[in-house]
Symmetry: C2
Subunit: 116 residues, 2 copies
């Protein structure tokens, strides 16, 4: 379901800044702050975890409204923020959009924050 | 400089929720969103990376104002948010407070976000 490949550890070393290895550039700091802001919300964290735990690791809005106790417009708004930040992938099939994790983005965040 | 020990992988398995393993509880979602909000800011990310790259992995406000181009009150405000979230440790020695990383908190965040 993901369009970006997961980075191997060797690729991550070459391409990806780490919070604790050297001073971050202003550009990298803004880039990671943008992705972190998208996930720094309790409802959005729960939506990501619900999608990850759902059958085939994908879900539509219709699967998510009841578990988080919110209406479809609110859930769709949160999902859009996660898609825009590259944390979720959206695929339209028939009348529904199906959401799945962008594992490469979560991996990049996890590697970035790891104190090594 | 850290007061909390770094969690071993075995301890992390037992104690720490993961975003992609099972649906998050409301309590865990709020807990992690609080820590993520503290780091989801470009200036605070740069401060953490500057402290990590500084001699002995600790720094005082006086070391940090020039690299981020902000005044001491603003930098102190950002550092307080990071200390309150458990991302930095503060130790007062003489007239200055010295800030260092709480590796256990960064490790917990990194493990939490890892897609496995």
């Amino acid at each position: 379901m993901t369009t970006q490949p997961t980075l191997s550890p060797a690729e991550a070393d070459v391409c990806c800044p780490s919070l604790t290895v050297s001073p971050l550039s202003i550009e990298d700091a803004h880039d990671f702050a943008r992705i972190l802001k998208a996930v720094a919300d309790p409802t959005r964290l729960r939506l990501v975890s619900l999608i990850a735990a759902h059958e085939q690791q994908e879900a539509c809005v219709c699967d998510l409204t009841e578990p988080v106790g919110l209406g479809q417009p609110t859930v769709s708004h949160h999902l859009k923020i996660l898609v825009d930040a590259g944390v979720l992938h959206r695929e339209k099939r028939g009348v529904w959009s199906y959401y799945s994790l962008e594992a490469a983005t979560l991996n990049r965040l996890s590697e970035f924050l790891s104190p090594g």
